[in-house]
Amino acid sequence: MQEEVVFVTGNEAVARAVKLAKPNVIAAYPITPQTEIVEVLARYVESGELRSEYIHVESEHSAMAACIGAASMGARVFTATAAHGFLYMCEMIFWASIARLPIVMANVNRALAPGWNIWAELKDAMAHRDAGWIQFYTASIQEAYDTTLMAFRVAEDRRVMLPTMVNLEGFVLSHVMQPLRLVDEAAYDEFLPPVRIPHALNFERPHTLGTLISPEHNFLVQYDNNKCMRAADDVIAETEREFEKITGRRYRAVMKYRCEDAETLVIAMGTLAREAEVACDSLRDKGEKIGVLRLRQLRPFPKAFAEEVKRLPAERFIIIDRAYSSGYGGILAEEVKARLYDLGIIKEVKSIIAGLGGQDVPHEALEKLFMDKQGGETWYGV
């Protein structure tokens, strides 16, 4: 079959993926730079191309609440947000994961006000690192599309049953157009089984969801949550392999670029990792042995990361962060350092803070930063 290729923005790519997943309910509130996702979906629904119930909620808190309500009835649901919208739904974000509802959400990463800034930064998602959601970070429009397609299957897997977010950086991905290879609808229908939420409310055996829970049971809920989050790591790997079978496109939790003989390993997420690959090529031309290791998921933190880091020969790590924990450090850098400690790896680590609030980070600048042998933390532009 001829593969269909279109030229679309990241936002439209996500909307197209959602259309294939055919959610029962979409509840969403517009926010820059996510707006186009909800606009395109509304168009699909109004034209009858997509037969979802579309709830035009009056806030993001209500968006996530409506998703929770619908998923509690056993529905497949989708929402999308960004930055302030994400923070506004914070209470419901935690609610969704504790309630074990496989809600899929696209988050178009954006910086936080005051000082209104609509450009890319990962802090909106990373601030919800401990919310119990599976977190994917994508680096191209094709990847945002493919990951959204996979997200439904991962979230709804019986072994997982956890909400899942797909992050794509504002403007850098949301508003840029790239060629997109579409997945065939029939193939996807086979890939994504019908949703079945085992604890959904029903009328045959009435039960209550969310009643008071005492200390002797509450921690068990959290224990189970973690168990399923850990299991999600394997389910994601399995899903990526299945996806590869129908599309030929290969995704892994840890994406390696020229890492095998690298003495210096750059670790990053999202589009800055791709920018680092360009810098890597240029440095390789100059004889530097450098590679880029891109993390596609922050939660569950991939087991594959430990496997790769143990195996690879790199002696020096450079971590790029597009989000910062004030008074602590680059969020990814601190996560990675903790993992290295777990593995007994004590090597030189350099932390680069770059791209906050949409700061432009060209590959030439990254090249310079990579070559700077000074360790510790460096803020690009400061």
Partner: protein
């Protein structure tokens, strides 16, 4: 199974002590049907009418014994009759409960006192979660379910008003019920927007300085098909309004005044009496707005139209929350009530609430 066990709380019929709510209902029946004057009917006629009505109310109980409601809780009467009314429509019931006393009344996992599928929600989002539930049912093509959302006054008139306004504006087919105990009673009686003027709460120790927010009127201004006010002291009126609401397609809103013995500080046996006093003094008015048409309900008709109104002092002095209220304050409240009754009289003439 352990995986989902904490979420699957099977309906539990406790063999525990006879619950306060049921006791109170028995008392209320006797009071309403037996003793009190009621719209000028003679005693026997009233009894016949009451017995006939009672025979038509489904016997099935959806609020089970062993629930953890406080003794004398009138909100549980409202819930009990709401669920019976839903049963009487022949459709199934899906109940949502906001963060409020009614979540506590369910009991603690693995028990639940509500024998219908129930979704407990966070504080601000009872109406928006109901939107999602309704949309899911629509997507499944199910038209045989009454979606009923219960929330307290804090969750409705304060933190949840945005979600409620949004949900009714969008026209979801559901019934939203605010049971109004006029404070954050679940957390020990802090002031809410529904707390009446001069009431002492733990956060207004010298009395609230502002009036009660009139949320039924705000919701009626959304032009939804049905808005009603009720009180468990008038169970026939309450039951019939719930039944009527559930027969109408679209968003419906019922505001229930539920006297709370714990927070209002009156004896647990006086809940029904307190609700009646509220209506008889004009502190609370029973009405409905059906497709925009305003109509007073029988118990309030004589208060508003015939001037058969008791002084507010009788109501205020019966409750500990108004302890220490001055004569001037009573006078002020009385004046506001008279103004309100005048406004309702005009509304009756115009057949429009606003």
């Amino acid at each position: 199974m352990l995986l989902f066990a904490p979420y699957i709380l099977l309906a539990f019929c406790g063999a525990a002590a006879f619950c306060g709510a049921l006791n109170i209902v028995v008392v209320s029946m006797v009071e309403v049907l037996g003793k009190e004057e009621h719209g000028g009917m003679k005693a026997e006629k009233r009894e016949v009418r009451g017995a006939r009505w009672l025979a038509a109310v489904p016997e099935d109980e959806y609020v089970l014994k062993g629930n953890s409601a406080c003794a004398g809780c009138t909100a549980m009467i409202a819930l009990r009759y709401a669920l019976k009314a839903s049963r009487a429509t022949g459709r199934k019931t899906l109940l949502l409960v906001g963060a409020c006393c009614m979540v506590v009344c369910e009991g603690v996992y693995p028990n639940t006192a509500y024998n219908v599928p129930t979704l407990d929600t966070a504080f601000a989002c009872t109406a928006s979660m109901a939107s999602g539930v309704e949309a899911a049912l629509k997507s499944f093509g199910r038209r045989d379910v009454n979606v009923i959302a219960f929330a307290g006054d804090g969750g409705t008139v304060d933190i949840g008003i945005q979600a409620l306004s949004g949900a009714v504006e969008r026209g979801h087919n559901f019934l939203y019920v605010c049971y109004d105990n006029e404070a954050y009673c679940n957390t020990g009686m802090q002031r809410s927007g529904a707390t009446p003027l001069c009431a002492r709460t733990t956060t207004t120790p010298s009395g609230k300085r502002e009036k009660k927010k009139d949320v039924p009127r705000i919701i009626a201004a959304h032009d939804i098909p049905y808005v009603a006010t009720v009180c468990p002291s008038y169970p026939m009126d309450l039951y019939e309004k719930f039944k009527k609401a559930l027969s109408i397609e679209g968003p419906k809103y019922i505001h229930v005044l539920t006297p709370c013995p714990v927070s209002w500080r009156f004896p647990t046996s006086k809940g029904i009496e307190m609700g009646k006093l509220a209506v008889r003094t004009g502190m609370w008015t029973l009405y409905e707005v059906e497709h925009g048409v305003f109509r007073l309900s029988a118990p309030s008709r004589r208060v508003v139209l015939n001037g058969d109104v008791l002084p507010v002092e009788k109501y205020l002095r019966a409750q500990g929350r108004f302890n220490g209220i001055t004569d001037e304050e009573v006078e002020r409240i009385q004046k506001i009530v008279y103004q309100e009754l005048e406004r309702l009289k005009e509304a009756t003439a115009r057949r429009r609430l606003w």
